[in-house]
Symmetry: C2
Subunit: 312 residues, 2 copies
């Protein structure tokens, strides 16, 4: 099957969890005609109603078992903490030969939570689209969310090759670049590129909120000095992030330990007035942003393109 | 004098230091017709040449003493570490009654470095426009940089009222909202809203660069998970930031100490699997971003407006 035919490559796609990521997958799959039928499942009646009214699924139900019955591809888009309870509901209803995937930010946990629940004949291949915004819920999704972003798949070494190829093709058609990685390595890479950054963003926003000497109103007024950049990711979904930290404890603590060690060295340089150490540290951090821009993972515009010149 | 006349409110404006901020002041003053003559001074011959070729000043010279001679308003836009050496050059050449200001991010240091050098009759009123981008140099400036941003002035209690009003009016005409604050309080407020955020951004970019288990290429590829947000301010001018930390040591160490204390508490919550503590912390940080957006200090668009939907 090729992109030039009009036959959707998947019969039935079921997306479980219709928040930012799930609703974006449904929207993108619909936009690109990737499935004959797109079903949504969500524990919330209200979310199902919104999904139906926004028409990014052909149907939506709180009966997750019914939603996955007969489906060819099922993608779990619920917080990691809900993997087990949702897995228990859907596992007995999955058809043999189905591809089951997820979008969680921790991949070893996907195996430990879900795999024990699965009967024979299910192709379970965890995935993680490295994409998102600070908004949550079915209204926040959009079809272009995954374009030019990486989607990491973490199959076991004995995963079915045809199923892996089909899942990789699905993400490619959503606009993503696909990378295959070991789940353990994924969790380490994401700990430094995503989990610890979120933790320190949440942390500094908390620190700033708790001050007695500086008012909340002052923090807000003068946030353009740098602080506001952190508030974006500190506005991300609290349930999702709680579950990330609870499920990627080891890698996060390892990377956080290094971060704090390095910060202590900078703290010491400030205390002792070691300008050379500060200057040398601050100089070597410029190149990495340049590389990120060149890799198409960031806008080249100053101030993310949001400053006065470019409209605010 | 009112805005409705065509008479520029200042005779001669001299900007010393023609980088991002200095060149933006000159551009904005020129755009709004705020001075009869706009002179630039910079220690770098090359920067003076660029300034002249971009025509955002009427003249530019490396002879800083000559640049300030007879000027009515002089704004220092050099790193704090250069305040003393530049102050020594210009102090004897300033005319009586001149308003002298600066744009440094630390305000007590402006007093300690510059005030002892000044003869009688100079109105020295430090200032700090809370605005900028991660780019540096004369080409990076633009006239709209200060629009809708705060400019904090930190006059001594016995400052000349007319001079203060004139300086405040100047910044208002550049598009800024002006706030008057005590220098010591300014340094504390900016430590949390700007200095510590920059330090931890520089720090995590450094930590990520030093890993052995995760390659530089992986950090770059998967930076959209959160890390890339930090690389923006970690690309800021190293000289300027070295000087900020050397000159606002006490307030930065105080705020950094609180940040690390709070981070240690989150670290402990992760180690002990305290999901409630994490969830409650992550929930209370959403409101502050909403307030920053409502205060006009941030774009309401998801992902700073840079994600797929809005062009990348």
């Amino acid at each position: 099957m090729t992109d030039t035919t009009n036959t959707p490559p998947i019969g039935t796609l079921t997306v479980i969890g219709l928040g930012l990521i799930g609703s974006s997958i449904a929207r993108a799959a619909s936009k690109h005609g990737l499935a004959k039928e797109i079903r949504g499942g969500d524990m919330s009646e209200q979310v199902c109603e919104i999904a139906k009214s926004l028409s990014f699924v052909d149907s939506a139900t709180t009966d997750l078992g019914a939603a996955v019955e007969g489906a060819d591809l099922v993608v779990l888009c619920v917080p990691i903490g809900a993997f087990k309870s949702v897995g228990e509901i859907i596992a007995p209803r999955l058809k043999s030969g189905v591809i089951l995937s997820d979008v969680g930010s921790v991949k070893q946990a996907a195996f430990t939570q879900i795999e024990p629940l699965l009967p024979e004949g299910i192709h379970f291949i965890p995935g993680h689209p490295v994409a998102g915004t600070e908004f949550s819920g079915p209204e926040a999704g959009f079809a272009e969310l995954f374009e030019n972003r990486w989607c990491i798949l973490t199959p076991k070494s004995d995963a079915d090759e045809a199923a892996l190829a089909q899942l990789a093709g699905f993400w490619t058609k959503l606009g993503s670049k696909v990378e295959i990685m070991d789940a353990e390595h994924h969790d380490l890479v994401l700990a430094i590129t995503s989990h610890v950054p979120h933790l320190i963003a949440y942390n500094i926003v908390g620190t700033a909120s708790d001050l007695e000497e500086v008012t909340q109103s002052e923090v807000i007024k003068y946030s353009a000095g740098g602080f506001r950049d952190f508030t974006r990711i500190a506005a991300s979904d609290p349930t999702m992030w709680r579950d990330v930290f609870l499920n990627n404890k080891e890698a996060v603590l390892e990377m956080l330990g290094r971060f704090m060690e390095d910060l202590t060295a900078l703290q010491r340089a400030i205390r002792w007035g070691d300008g050379d150490a500060l200057f040398s540290h601050f100089t070597r951090t410029r190149a990495i942003r340049k590389s990120i821009i060149e890799a198409g993972q960031e806008t080249p515009q100053p101030d993310f393109g949001r400053s006065g010149k470019h409209g605010n």
